[in-house]
Every structure is written in structure tokens, then in C-alpha cells.
Symmetry: none
Subunit: 197 residues, 4 copies
DNA sequence: AATGAATGAGCGTTCATTCAT
DNA sequence: GATGAATGAACGCTCATTCAT
């Protein structure tokens, strides 16, 4: 019973992501999520009291991975550079297997016009940047990255790259292996910003 | 006469950009553009025969700058690295003075569900990447950038950074000087990827 | 429950016919049907997913009578001539009591520009002609109608007459008794085409 | 000059008929007539001060033929029966060569919702019926048609047939020779109603 | 004699949401 | 826990008509 509820509730999030991927966030509607899920529109309002609340759940789902990744990185005994690799590799692998979710990486702007959604998305972005710049700071301290590098700016570069390559992947209709490409480019970036002997 | 026509038609593009910046692309409607412009909705359809056509004009306006920039760069006698700086500096300066247009940099995904818009936006992105990777190739040939660098990947990194920093600028509500920040970061990037002696 | 549904759905068809009779098929709109019925426009779309689907239901309603008539004629043990009389008498009586529906007899042409409607209306007309020419063939075999008569042409004459007299009835604002008039004229026609001794 | 005006004015009527035939009376609009004619919408209002006035001109054009036919019939020295044949033959020949105009024969009902148009169309129908029943009366007097026949009812039968066969012709997409068919059927009708020896 | 621009009303349709069942 | 019916607002778009040029 409780289980079914949870199942349906989460199922709606997955359906919403599917719909966003299929017809775009602008054309997402409760009706379409309902029919994707095979329920009535009214049924959705039993689980989420508004469309925005469903979208908040989508963002929760999208970022739930974040805490896991951040936590895992902390647990493993990796060098900072390895951590950065591990982090992006995790996302890239995940996205490669669930390509629809990359739609969410591209629609931050759309969420910005509803206060609740805006706060959530801003927090997600901020946390990711913060986490990344933290790793970079560590890397600088451990001489893996050159000392003059501004960690926040590099964090923006890395996330910006990641978002851009996700976009290219979508445009290409998933024509190249995302994980490999990200790995290569990240390697290139970290090497470029590494300390020079 | 001709003047009035051009004025209204172009004015509608500017109004559309304003509306997109204000309420978001998802909430853009012909009604809102009309009221922003102070005309009736029907009047818009005299100038653009559909909403999509107006949006195409917005993309035209957004990218019209591109050819100018590409051409100017070719004319000036600059080193490739200087050209890259000049290019991003131009956009950053422009955006800094017309912050609403940065909204357009963030909405590629939304346009992807209308074929005409999709084609246009894909072309714009491709052309920009191509132009940038061309400059990088030149830079590699002239030993300004390290030979092992993949020019297309670096182009993606640079544009990804630019898009990301525009997003951050918007989130911060234009709290930092965009041009300066871009200049610094770009300097950092190009230095990192430069040939090491 | 089920009852309410059927009621509203069928009610909309009757409302649509009322509107067509009042303001003409060209001026029929979902808005007007809605207000005739005392519901909102959106409510209509719960029952019929488009305006055309509602119009199809109107045609269904208009022709649902057909199968009943055809079937009844077959059941009763009447001479072919009596059958023809019975058939037109049934329509005339029905129309006399529900004059608004005669509007539908006059609007074939208008429906011709929507493929779905066109197919439906063409089928209705074809079936009626076919049924009538079948009866005439029988009448010829039983020597009630002269052998040289082309049954399809006579069917067209009879239906053409019926449609024309309905038009006259409408023009006259229902000033003469439709049933009686049809009966007389049909009698005149059948007598004229009967076998002469 | 005057000539051009007349030409344009009449051209608009022909364009309107073309549009009605192409997209149906319900989808006729000033815009479409204008573009069919290759002028602006505003230009039409220079010639006809409203859409209804243009439609009145269409009806004028449609029925202008009537007076010619009526007059010609009176001039020629024909028997009443021959006159009826001549009359329908003239229309059938005309329509066969200008099939678009048969659209007008089918849309009386649509015109009924604008008072001016209604009056016009009612007059046309009445005049035609009157003319036909006059010929039938003559035929009765000259023993060409049986004495017990009600001339008005037969007139309705004949015009009803004619309208119906025009409809069938349209449905069939002009698959049979209209004139021939009308001639045959009319022959059949007049023979049936003729005096029997 | 004709055009381009504009208007206000109306169109068919979709939306998020509510509520009785 | 879910459904079917309904609503009111908004959507993109087309209409007949007007008017300054």
C-alpha cells in the first residue's frame, strides 16, 4: 500500500522526465504526464498538490544523485584530481544509461520563473559549484593544480563544459559515447591546469 | 513609411526578448509580446505569420551579431589568441549592456521541439563552435596553443564556460562585471592550454 | 452516473442542432453550443475531442434514424410502393415534430471541406439513394412502377424533391404541414411513374 | 478606367466563386478572395463596402442568367415542354462548363442567416419555381402534361431533382456528363407526368 | 485606386486545478 | 486512491473592417 504510493509517486517523476525529454519542458502538461503514466490528471493531484510540486520532485530526483556522489567521493580515499574524475565519470555514466535526464541539465532557465523552483535549482547549481571548487582547492594544496588558478572559475569551466557536452550529445542524438568523451576532455582540462614542472 | 515598418518589426523582436527575459520562454505568448509593444495581438501577425516566425526573428537577431564578429575578426590583424579574446570580449561587452539577451543563451533546449527553431539554433551553435575551433587550430599552428590539444573539445570548453558564466551572471542578478570576469577566465584558460616552454 | 454522461453528450448534439438551426452552420461555434447547453467550452472537449467530432455526432444522430427506418421497412410486410410511402412519411413526421433538424438536410455542401465529415455525409447520401433505388427496383419487378424507369434516377428525383420541399418549408417558416405535402407529392410521383394499363 | 473598375469588380465575384468552390462557403474570407484575385483585402472594400455586398454580387451573378433564360424562352417559339427542356439544358450546359458555380446551388441555407442575403436567395428560388410552374401550367393547358398535376409541386420536383443531381455531380467529382444526365432524367419526368392516351 | 498597418471580436483548443463520487 | 465532469483563464490564430497615406 505505502509501497504502491511511493512507487506511483516516483513513477510520476520518471514519467515527467520522459515527457520533458519527448516534447520539451514548454510542452509538459499534467495531462501528458498523466497519460504517460496511464492515470487520470486528477490522480496526479492526489500525489502532488500542484504542477510545481511535481517539478520540485523532478529536481529532487535530478539532484538526489548529488549528495550520493559528494558523500561517496568523501569516503573513498582518492586524490583530489581522481575525485573530480570520479565525480564527472559518475554523472556521465549515469546519463549515458538514462539519456532522458540530460534534458534536465539544459532547462535551468525555464525553472527560474517560479520562485520555488528557482530556489531549488539555484541551490543545486551552487552546491555543485561549491563541491567542485572545494576539490580544486584541495588539488591546489596538493600541488595537483597550479597555485595561481582561481578554483571557482575552474569549477565553472568544468561544469560549463559538462553541460555543453551534454547539449552536444543531445543535438547529435547520442551519436558519441558520452562517458569516454567527458573523460578525455576532463583529462585534457586537468592536465592543462596542472602544476608545470 | 518603410521606416515605421522596420521599426515595428524589429521592435517586436526586442519586445519578445524583453518578455523572454521577464517571464521566461515558457511563458512567452503573443499576447504578452503585443502588450509589451503596445499593439494588439493581431498586429503581430501582420509582421510575422506565426509565433515561430517571430521566434526565428529573435534567433536571427541573436545571431546576427555572429557574422559581424566573425567578419571583424578576419579583418583585424590579430594573433589567433587575440582573436579569441576579441570574440568573447565583444559578446561579453554586448551582453553586459543588454543583459536581457543573455536569456537567449540559456534556452536552446526549449527551442528544440519545433523543427524550424531547432534547425536554426543548431546551426548557430555549430557555426560558433566551428569558428572557435578554427581559431584554435590557427593558434596551435602558430604555437600559441599546445599541439596535443583537440581544437573542437577546447571550443566546447570555451563556449560551455561562456554559457555557464552567463547563467551565473543571471542567477546573481548581474552582480559582477561580466566582461571583466570573462576576460580573466579566458586568459586563465588560454594560458593553461598554451604551449609550455 | 452513466446516465448523466449520456445525457450531456447527447444533449450537446441537440444543442448543436439548435445552434445550427438558429444561426446557421457557418456561424456555429463551440462557444455557442456551450452557451446553448449552459456549460463552458472546455466541458465540450471532455465529451468530444474536437469540433469535428461533435459534428460527426450530429451526423450520426441525423442518420441514426436511417438504419431504424430501413430495418422497419424490411420487417413490415408492405408492398414496395407502400414502403416508399412509409419511409418518407416517417422522415416527414419526424421532421415536422423536430423542425430544427431540417437544417441538417440543407448543409451537405458545407461539410464537404472536412474530410471526416465529407466521408460521413457522402455515405449517408449514398445509403439513402441505394435504399430507395432498391425499393424502386422491387416496385418495378412487382409491376408497381413502369419497367423502363431507371431506379437510381428516380431515387434521386424523390430525395431531391424531399430535400427541396424541406427547404421550402424552412423558407416559409413552417407555414404548411410538411407531412401532408410530402404525402401528396409522393403519391403524385409514384402514380406518374406507375405502370400504365 | 471605368472598364477596369467593372472588370475588377466582376473579377472579384468570379474569385469569390472560385474560393467557395475550393474551400467552401464557411471558409470563404475576404483575405482568401483578395489573395485569389491578387489584391489586398482593403482593395475589395473599395468595390464592395462589406463582405455581404460581395456575396450579394455573387448571388446576382448566379441569377443574372435567370432573366436571360426566362426571356429567351419567351422569345423562342417552343412548346411548353420544349421550353422546360431548353431551360434546364441551358443551366446544365452552363454548369458543365463552369463547374465551380454549382457550389452556389448547394449553399442556400448558409445565406439564410444574413437578412439581405436571405431576401435575395429567397427571391431567386421563388422566381425559378414560379417560372417553372408557369411553364407547367401552359403544358397542362396544351395537354402536354396531365391535368390533375399540381404545377407548383411538379416545379419543386424538377428543381429539387436538378439541385440533387448537381450535388451528386459534385460528390462524384464531375464523373458523369451533367447535361446528358439531366436531359435523360427530365425526359423521364416529363414523360411520366404527360397526359396518357 | 490601392496599400500597409492596425483593431477588436471571435475562433478552436489546451491548461492547471477542483470537486463530488 | 482514483475517476469523470467541470471550470475559467489563457493560448495561437483568423476575421471583417477602418484609416492614413
Amino acid at each position: 500500500m505505502g509501497k504502491t504510493l511511493i512507487h506511483t509517486k516516483e513513477g510520476l517523476v520518471l514519467s515527467a522526465i520522459e515527457v520533458i525529454n519527448d516534447v520539451g519542458i514548454s510542452n509538459l502538461s499534467i495531462r501528458k504526464v498523466a497519460s504517460q503514466q496511464g492515470v487520470t490528471e486528477a490522480a496526479i493531484f492526489r500525489h502532488y498538490k500542484s504542477k510545481n510540486e511535481l517539478l520540485l520532485a523532478v529536481l529532487d530526483f535530478f539532484s538526489k544523485y548529488d549528495s550520493d556522489v559528494f558523500a561517496t567521493v568523501a569516503l573513498k580515499k582518492l586524490t583530489p584530481t581522481e575525485s573530480i574524475h570520479y565525480c564527472l565519470n559518475t554523472y556521465a555514466t549515469y546519463y549515458e544509461n538514462y539519456s532522458a535526464i540530460t534534458a534536465i541539465t539544459q532547462i535551468h532557465e525555464v525553472f527560474r520563473n517560479e520562485m520555488e523552483l528557482r530556489e531549488k535549482i539555484d541551490t543545486i547549481i551552487m552546491d555543485r559549484t561549491h563541491f567542485m571548487s572545494g576539490l580544486i582547492d584541495e588539488a591546489i594544496q596538493k600541488n595537483e593544480i597550479a597555485p595561481h588558478v582561481d578554483s571557482e572559475q575552474l569549477a565553472i569551466i568544468i561544469w560549463g563544459y559538462f553541460r555543453e557536452v551534454c547539449m552536444k550529445w543531445r543535438i547529435s542524438e547520442y551519436a558519441f559515447p558520452l562517458r569516454e568523451r567527458v573523460q578525455e576532455s576532463l583529462h585534457m582540462i586537468l592536465r592543462a591546469f596542472s602544476k608545470r614542472e
